[in-house]
Symmetry: C2
Subunit: 348 residues, 2 copies
């Protein structure tokens, strides 16, 4: 049913967003009081987690677990004026049986999840469930060490919270705004503001589409990878860039490759997509066939770009001792685009 | 080299955006003075156009042409404080010869295009080149009646201008902003604002990814189309919706179809994309296979949704007298997704 790409990290939809409930403040308030409701806590966009001991072989795939707080632990923070609360959704029922309609007031049996966020140290206000738990110190690399289900929840929560943290003023008039729709909307507080007439994207979270591409040599046996100065030594990855207004995905791919590497690209083929909540990108992953091969890097963005042979890529994939470069981590769509290519025919 | 979808309306890249020049204020200023530089004028986001007489058979494909103004016509508006100016790019050279490097000051022979925008009636300030020219009264349907090349330019210009018109205040602190980078960036004017530390999307134009999908019946011989109340009588089109933070394209497709029609979707296949500058969407077009067939429309958004047989779709495509519905206009990606399906095998 799903293509491989849909198993990517950040791509799991563990929750049903139930967006029709966002405007139902009675239901939302009841869920906030329900004993099984889960609250995730973020401080400066970093989630509260517990470290999991590594597996015996020292490898273990997920080394952090989100702290799932209950109402009593977060009570003091909930009422605090600088707290942002967003409704994330409900746990999907394990069976596929449709939810039966409920009488008003009757519990619908759905377990709701919320994210709570603050920019002020909440340690005094919150009762931590476990002395081991702590806020991630930085998004990277911690955010890449969650279970698949929790990564999907964090993809949603962090992207929406990052929007709240940067968009608390109305961009149309500069006034303050209030949070609506279970944390999925902000409304200008100034009566008469243009943003209140009609529907405008100023009121909704931002999602930035990014084109990310593996460029394949015209002869089919090499691919183009680049590195930024900030990458770990030896690592090369796909080129990528923000899709601009008025552009297609395919033209965005061609323009970014040209800008960053001086290589001209012809055919572009979509492969898969991935949300990337740093802060709120939608990665649109493509394979693209080069028309030219001379490299001329944009030194503002890229330190080096090179053609790598299929064998060199395979060596990097298996982390061979003689590998000439290393791949981006398996959680990144770039890793998937590269692996997908070596499993493919030489031509698109 | 290009797939069909790349010939879609709004998808033509007539200009080379030359983004590396956006920070070169000397070059931009010289281009603004150059006699062959083209200025497009927008008043409340509607472009100045000339009407073209329809062809003799009364059909004619493009009925509006952008007015290409020169420096002397727009001089008074250029200096005006409420004017927004954006650099769109340069005309692509007709041959593929690389641009030879130029001595400083020497003319590089490139014809630059700018868009000028104002929210105040500019009729008094601008010398109109032609008594016939006028501002479009509304974006629709006029914006769909340009030539392919001009549609591509308008896709870029209108999306960026719409962002300026709604985002003139810093969303992080509410202060005013100034326009930078040839109109592709806004910078907060308040010293110490958080938006000035690091790189943040608050400073860059917004592009909203939208999933738009043709849902195909599990048996392969019918497709699901819906209509909004505002559609012309009899018209049905693809379902569509904004991709949310933390979501893949594929999950966005499944969620929106479920929300709007109550139909569950399994496999999703990307087909093509299109910018839609009303105000700044990126339409991501997919085919999707339904797992269920019962329809339950979200009445807030959709008036009616129905399964149509392949023959009914063919009848609509050829505008047969007995057609039971009409298609969206050929300029819309929905039209393309529908036509693409009837040209396809019954299975994805
Ligand atoms: N939405 C955005 N968020 C952050 N940076 C952006 C955005 N749009 C354009 N940029 C610019 O794009 C640069 C990164 O280049 P690229 O990712 O290759 O497009 C940043 O340094 C910014 O100057
Ligand atoms: N970026 C956005 N721009 C406009 N409306 C949005 C945006 N994001 C979410 N919405 C909401 O989505 C509704 C349209 O539904 P849909 O296009 O099906 O997602 C609008 O009425 C808004 O309530
Ligand atoms: Mg880049
Ligand atoms: Mg770039
Ligand atoms: Mg870029
Ligand atoms: Mg919709
Ligand atoms: Mg929606
Ligand atoms: Mg919808
Ligand atoms: Zn406002
Ligand atoms: Zn600011």
């Amino acid at each position: 049913m799903h293509s491989d790409g849909e198993n990517l990290y950040f791509n799991h939809e563990f929750l049903d967003r139930l967006s029709e409930r966002r405007t139902d403040s009675t239901w939302l308030a009841a869920k906030q009081r329900a004993p099984d409701t889960v609250f995730l806590l973020f401080y400066s966009l970093n989630p509260l987690v517990t470290s999991e001991p590594l597996k015996e072989d020292g490898r273990g795939d997920c080394s952090y677990q989100l702290s799932r707080l209950r109402r009593p632990s977060v009570e003091p923070l909930l009422g605090h004026p600088n707290t942002t609360l967003i409704f994330l959704g409900v746990e999907k029922p394990r069976t596929c049986a449709p939810n039966t309609a409920m009488d008003d007031g009757e519990d619908d049996g759905l377990t709701a999840w919320f994210a709570l966020s603050t920019e002020e140290d909440p340690t005094e206000l919150v009762k931590f469930p476990d002395p081991q738990c702590a806020f991630l110190q930085a998004p990277m690399p911690g955010l890449l060490k969650l279970s698949d289900n929790e990564a999907g929840v964090v993809a949603q929560a962090r992207a929406v919270l990052a929007w709240h943290s940067r968009y608390s003023f109305c961009p149309t008039c500069g006034s303050g705004t209030r949070v609506d729709d279970g944390g999925h909307k902000r409304t200008c507080l100034r009566e008469g503001c243009r943003s209140l007439r009609g529907i405008h994207n100023t009121c909704y979270p931002r999602v930035d589409p990014v084109a990310i591409m593996l460029v394949i040599h015209p002869e089919g046996n090499q691919c183009l990878l680049g590195r930024k100065k900030v990458f770990p030594a030896g690592m090369f990855s796909c080129l990528a860039g923000f899709i601009e207004p008025g552009e297609t995905v395919e033209e965005g791919v061609r323009r970014e490759v040209w800008e960053e590497s001086g290589v001209r690209v012809g055919p572009v083929r979509y492969v898969t997509s991935q949300p990337w909540p740093m802060p709120s990108s939608l990665m649109i992953g493509c394979h693209a066939v080069a028309l030219t091969t001379a490299i001329n890097v944009d030194e503002n963005e890229i330190e080096e770009a090179r053609w790598f042979t299929r064998q060199q890529v395979i060596d990097a994939t298996v982390k061979a001792k003689h590998a000439v470069f290393s791949l981006p981590p398996r959680q990144a769509i770039a890793h998937y685009l590269i692996k997908h290519w070596i499993g493919m025919q030489a031509n698109l």
